[in-house]
Amino acid sequence: MSVKIEYHKFDVVVVGAGGAGLNAAQVASQYCKTAVVSEVYPTRSHTISAQGGISAALGNLEEDHWHWHMFDTVKGSDYLADQDSCEYMTRLAPEMIIALEHIGLPFSRTPEGKIAQRPFGGHTAEFGKRAVKRACYAADRTGHAMLKTLYEKSVDQGTHFYSEFYALELLMNEGQVNGVLCYDIQNGELHIFNAKAVVFATGGNCRVFQTNSNAHINTGDGLALAMRKGCSWSDAEFFQFHPTGIYGAGNLITEGVRGEGGILLNAQGERFMERYAPTIKDLAPRDIVSRSMALEVLEGRGVGPNKDHVLLKIDHIGAENIMEKLPGIHELSLVFAGVDCTKEPIPVNPTAHYQNGGIPTNYHTQVIKGNMDGEEYVPGLFAAGECASASVHGANRLGTNSLLDLVVFGRTAGEQAAKYAAENSLVGLVDNAGSEGVANINKYANANGKHTFGEIWGELTDVMQKKMSVFRTEELMTECYATLNELEAKMDDYKVNDKSSVYNLDLIEALELNNMILVAKACTSAAILRKESRGGHFRDDYPDRDDANFLKHTEVYLEEDLKTPRVDYRNVRQKPISVETFPPKPRVY
């Protein structure tokens, strides 16, 4: 591979073109010269798949209040979220939705012409009394409508796009972040973007699990790049397993189906959620519904020849209603389950869906490094979206709060990065800038060993599925970690067959696989050490929440070998900006 590098200078460079990246870019572009680099064309980012909605206490159909939304978010997080960030996000939500509507997002409407809203899991009125209609939506294509609107807006704002550019290394000069090294997938050339501020918005990493709802590109690259430069991954052990993945395929059936009246049934035809969450039933938060489903299966009430899943029934709301509000779900059920959901129930089981934690930031999206003694900023680095953690999701994210996170923290990141770029001058590159990234890509470009992507990725997702998903124990996770170490060793005896400089997917998959193994090790070590159950992290050997010892963020750093995780902790910011703290309570719904 050539080491010829092309250089570019920008005020702000955004890595990632999903909802978070594009919102950051369209805002930053209003103030300064901004580039977006993305592994795929912007409209092909994973945000395009988001279905059910985006939350905001607009109160268009019934009374609602941001403070109730904030409470639901904190309680939903099993009290691990930072309450200042939760207040910031939920207060800003209505304004953000209106801004999206003004730039063209085709929201569904109420009869009076306002933005329509539907109920979603864990969203309640009056601090938990009853379910509330808070999710704004565009049929069941909310993410699609949002991403395209943001893309079109950022083109209009003059954002510079570099599509099918794959980020290899985050660049720094004496602790100051000053750019990113990228590989042009279309022709194999290397580029360095030297910038005053860098925004990471690289999305999630659920491709490490066998059954997942994620796109091929969700491999945790951003986390790996940041961790190799001394940043941590906050709350790494917390993943969201969404209750309604299509059985056998993992593709998502939005919670909006239950919001529109869908119910879950076991083999006896019983609406079992009435037993687990008497107040809000099928609209309990995802961690609770997933675990209830798993218990139904464990106790022999699953459906199908293997009694290993449950049914989601929606036909009772009528075919016309389904085709108007949930047309995408109808299509997905037909293709992936062979079921016409206007007539029959959809077979479902939990699917790995969302990375709750991420690169830690404060609510200004500045990346922080911290431990129990305090925290400091990483100058010039900002992060937003699923790859980041301002910590509004904690141990379990509420449905529709991710799209909200993207627009709120995406916009903040765009503003903050532009402000940072205005106040600081460009820091030059060090002499051998990018050498680590170049060495890494050369290692794989020239890899002529034995093991291939198909083989190792198969083993990785298999072990993560069996030993690190809905139920976890010390023994299983320790075995998992040992297997991950073996897989890591195999990466030194790897084979990239493709030697082409043009669209070399074999090479990109090698780089992604290397990152996936690193993030898998990081989250497994964090999970082993969190000896309690909280939100999406459920341990059979420690089934209760333990606030005395574990009401704190995990922060996984890398040791100097850049391979071995080192698990540290940081205090939860329990103090909101202006209101009172919601103290931890048992979570009943």
Partner: protein, 235 residues
């Protein structure tokens, strides 16, 4: 287990003077096996140098439009068994420059869609709240906003092949999506672009694009309506 023959277009500019076809026997490992599963099987088990695009794997990102036995489709939403043949010829989308194997150059396609100003243009000030839109007005956007930018339509269009500057069905569909939006006030800015000699008049209304669209959208209908609007304006 049933196997199907995949005859796949191959071309790597780094080493091939000309394109050629490679043949693979692909196993259909479960009912409902998708074309994308088959492409992944080829790449992960038979020949890692084979390359193609894909991301969401559920028909919404528009990465994986390909041509199978002469018809454009998304690999991730098509069941191999539904194609009703044991021999499939797999090609990149026609009418676009091939970069390698099934990967085409889509910059031209994206740039054309951008020329029609696909964003809300407002002259009146925005209210503090949302701009009200009746459910009936919102319904006008159905069948338009769902486009996933896969290119299956433009790639099937004879006018798109013949005239390198022809904007193509997708761009017209997108333009119409904004023109009919009750919140938009930009029709005047868009209509001259659509009225250009590479605009809507180049369309022969032969509905290839409608047949090719995996999302069952109707670009030709949008074209006919744009033409009517242009004609009405001239009077």
């Amino acid at each position: 287990m049933k196997t199907v023959t995949f005859e796949v277009f191959r071309y790597d500019p780094d080493k091939d003077k000309e394109a050629y076809y490679d043949t693979f026997q692909v196993e259909l490992r479960r009912p409902g096996y998708l074309l994308l599963d088959a492409l992944n099987q080829i790449k992960w088990e038979l020949d890692p140098t084979f390359t193609y695009r894909r991301s969401c794997r559920e028909g919404v990102c528009g990465s994986d439009g390909i041509n199978v036995n002469g018809v454009n489709m998304l690999s991730c939403m098509t069941k191999v068994e539904d194609l009703g043949s044991d021999h499939l010829v797999i090609q990149p989308l026609p009418g676009m420059n091939v970069m390698r194997d099934l990967v085409t150059d889509v910059d031209d396609f994206f740039n054309k869609f951008i020329t029609v100003k696909p964003y809300i243009i407002r002259k009146s000030p925005n209210p503090d709240k949302e701009i009200y839109q009746s459910p009936e007005d919102r319904k006008l956007l159905d069948g338009l906003y769902e486009c996933i930018l896969c290119g299956c339509c433009s790639s099937s269009c004879p006018s798109f092949w013949a005239d390198k500057k022809y904007l193509g069905p997708n761009a017209f569909l997108r333009a119409w999506r904004y023109i009919v939006d009750s919140r938009d006030e930009g029709a005047e800015e868009r209509l001259p672009i659509l009225n250009d000699k590479h605009g809507v008049w180049r369309c022969h209304t032969i509905y290839n694009c409608v047949e090719a669209c995996p999302k069952e959208l109707n670009p030709t209908d949008a074209i006919v309506k744009i033409r009517k609007m242009l004609l009405d304006q001239q009077i």
